[in-house]
């Protein structure tokens, strides 16, 4: 069979979402950011909300997220995306606002901002990409780095006595009354990618319905800084990250406790 027979419009089962720009992504091959961007593009496109969605990109590898999705974007200072998103969403209550943050951004320098935005129940979506490490600055320890994990600043492995314990920030977030949907996903297989897309869509729907904050953690790989091939990184993630960062829904107020959340008064 010729290549042209295979790459043929009739055989097309999966198209590039129109919302993804033509820009070549700067992410390392094997990185999860690209897949998650694509899912965001698909969800926003499917929901037809591109004209009223504003993204807030982080400091970290995804700092340039605004180069890849054809929507309005603001870039925030390190950790402050939830505050920036609060400012946008409070003064534009009919728009859909989301932040896109790494674990260093969200769970380290920005812990105060994420806790309080979620606790106030800001109507917004948080996409939290947890790759257990600081990607952009060269692979230092993050709050989410596992015990024993080797990073640039824990060259002999993270030691609880010296470096403290890994932080399950999503479990904390799920406790907050302002959040309506808190879930932990991954994008390492076609099946988990599909599940993750559903979770993102649900999160956006909750924001549109003004149900408060929706929080989607995506447990991810950083094969470059983990110093592994993409395939090995995925295996390492399943073996080491999943037992500690257990995938699944942590809170879904549409199912079990719709009364737990009092909507924001603007």
């Amino acid at each position: 069979m010729e290549l042209a027979d295979i790459i043929n419009p009739n055989n097309l089962v999966y198209e590039k979402p129109k919302l993804l720009t033509e820009n070549t992504m700067h992410y390392c091959p094997g990185c999860s950011h690209g897949v998650i961007h694509r899912l965001l593009a698909e969800v926003i496109e499917d929901m037809g909300i591109q004209d009223k969605t504003i993204g807030v990109s982080p400091v970290g590898c995804a700092v340039f997220a605004y180069n890849y999705l054809e929507i309005d974007w603001q870039e925030a200072a390190h950790g402050r995306a939830p505050a920036v998103a609060t400012g946008i969403s409070r003064t534009n209550p009919n728009k859909v606002v989301f932040t896109y943050q790494g674990d260093g951004d969200l769970a380290s320098i920005g812990t105060a901002e994420i806790m309080h935005a979620c606790n106030r129940g800001e109507n917004m979506v948080v996409i939290f990409v947890n790759n257990g490490i600081y990607g952009m600055t060269g692979g230092q320890m993050a709050p989410t780095t596992l015990l024993g994990q080797v990073t640039a600043t824990t060259p002999n492995g993270r030691d609880a006595g010296r470096n403290g314990y890994p932080l399950r920030i999503t479990e904390l977030i799920a406790q907050l009354p302002g959040t309506s949907y808190v879930t932990r996903q991954s994008v390492h297989t076609p099946a988990t990618i599909r599940k993750c897309k559903k979770a993102i869509a649900k999160a956006f729907q909750a924001a549109i319905d003004k149900k408060g904050t929706s929080f989607v953690e995506v447990v991810s790989t950083c094969n470059m800084n983990w110093k592994m091939t993409p395939v090995k990184a995925n295996e390492w993630m399943v073996e080491n990250m999943f037992p500690f960062y257990v995938p699944g829904d942590l809170k879904d107020s549409s199912k079990n406790d719709p009364e737990s959340y009092t909507p924001l008064k603007n």
Partner: protein, 361 residues
């Protein structure tokens, strides 16, 4: 004519914000400016004009909330006092870098550190020379009365939007806490989303419209040639402010042989000092910079050719005096008199300093 009231400076900031069509206030309490948010919360402007008022978890969060709202073309402000403004320095640098308009009110208190809750003017350098990182400038307005606290809210927004740059009202605990009569402005309606799109559609992020490209607000640029170009554009903007928007007041300067230079509450004290000195036969005038940036270089340079010396009175260890020296050149003495730590100098002390440091010396 607007409504006449007796109000505190801090209360007036809140009232003026509501009346000038403000879309949002994000803040965190600190003395001596807590009445700004307290007044807003009491007035409940969300019922009246739709203005959002939010008590943030910190000054860091409040300035970044301002960043988000300002990026969507809204008219937003925050207020704080010295230690809080230090926390906001990160956000202010980002706002300047992203070229976003907003209003920041600093009701100064004594520092450094936690300092005192008494008034001070020791944040002059921080406000006019940076405070955050990078080459940037704020538009800095220094009111010396409760009336000006009112007037500078709308003026601050006008200048902020004219230049797409953060503006600051730099005041202190004297003016913030003082009660005076004030003529309030008439209400201006908030802009609708359509009006925002019409005016600022080329840059705001409030949802990509069919008739415009998506907008991106960022202060990031990895290419250093392009980053230098951004900086050159900013510098051009600051130069334009110096050409077009310098504000100052001259009191009894026509025949002056000596000049007092002072801003804000110090300028009020100096007004009295001018009267006292003139009663003694000393011909002294007062130049009051109203915009601390852009700084009134030219009028000071002009007066430097007329007077024998200048005394710069500030409630700090000597900050604005450096700018006055630069403007005046080396031909005449320019000296500083100041009290610190929340102590307010008396008019008599100013006259004494004038006699000892300039006339006698």
């Amino acid at each position: 004519m607007g409504e006449l009231r007796l109000m505190k400076g801090n209360e007036v900031i809140a009232e003026a914000a509501i009346r000038c069509g403000c879309d949002g206030y994000f803040g965190y309490p600190i003395t001596p400016q807590s009445e700004v948010m307290e007044t807003l919360m009491d007035r409940e402007p969300w019922n009246e004009t739709g203005m959002v008022v939010l008590q943030a978890e910190s000054e860091i969060a409040s300035i970044h909330m301002v960043h988000g709202a300002a990026g969507s073309g809204k008219k937003v402000l925050t207020s704080s006092s010295s230690p809080g403004i230090s926390l906001m320095a990160e956000g202010i640098s980002y706002l300047a870098g992203a070229e976003l308009p907003c209003l920041i009110v600093n009701v100064q208190r004594g520092g450094p550190g936690l300092g005192t809750i008494q008034p001070s003017q020791a944040d002059y350098w921080q406000s006019t020379k940076g405070g955050g990182h990078g080459d940037y400038r704020l538009i800095v307005l220094a009111p010396s009365s409760v009336q000006e606290m009112n007037d500078f809210v709308e003026l601050g927004f006008q200048l902020a939007f004219k230049y797409r740059n953060p503006a600051m009202i730099l005041t202190d605990g004297v003016i913030g806490q003082m009660m005076e009569k004030v003529v309030l402005a008439d209400y201006i309606p908030r802009l609708t989303d359509e009006e925002i799109n019409e005016k600022y559609g080329s840059w705001v992020t409030n949802g990509r419209k069919h008739n415009r490209q998506r907008n991106i607000i960022t202060s990031l640029e990895m290419d250093s040639v392009r980053m230098e170009n951004n900086n050159l554009r900013l510098q051009k903007k600051y130069a334009r402010m110096e050409e077009e928007d310098v504000l100052f007041e001259e009191i009894l300067c026509e025949d002056a042989e000596y000049l007092l230079v002072a801003f804000g509450s110090s300028a009020r004290i100096c007004q009295k000092a001018v009267d006292q000195a003139r009663e003694k036969g000393i011909k002294v005038g007062l130049l009051r910079p109203i915009t601390l940036f852009p700084f009134p270089q030219k009028p000071i340079a002009k007066l430097a050719k007329q007077v024998k010396g200048m005394l710069v009175v500030e409630m700090n260890a000597g900050q604005m005096v450096e700018d006055v020296k630069l403007a005046a050149g080396c031909a005449i003495p320019v000296v500083h008199f100041g009290r610190m730590g929340g102590i307010i100098p008396s008019p008599g002390e100013v006259v004494e300093a004038l006699e000892q440091k300039l006339i006698g010396g």
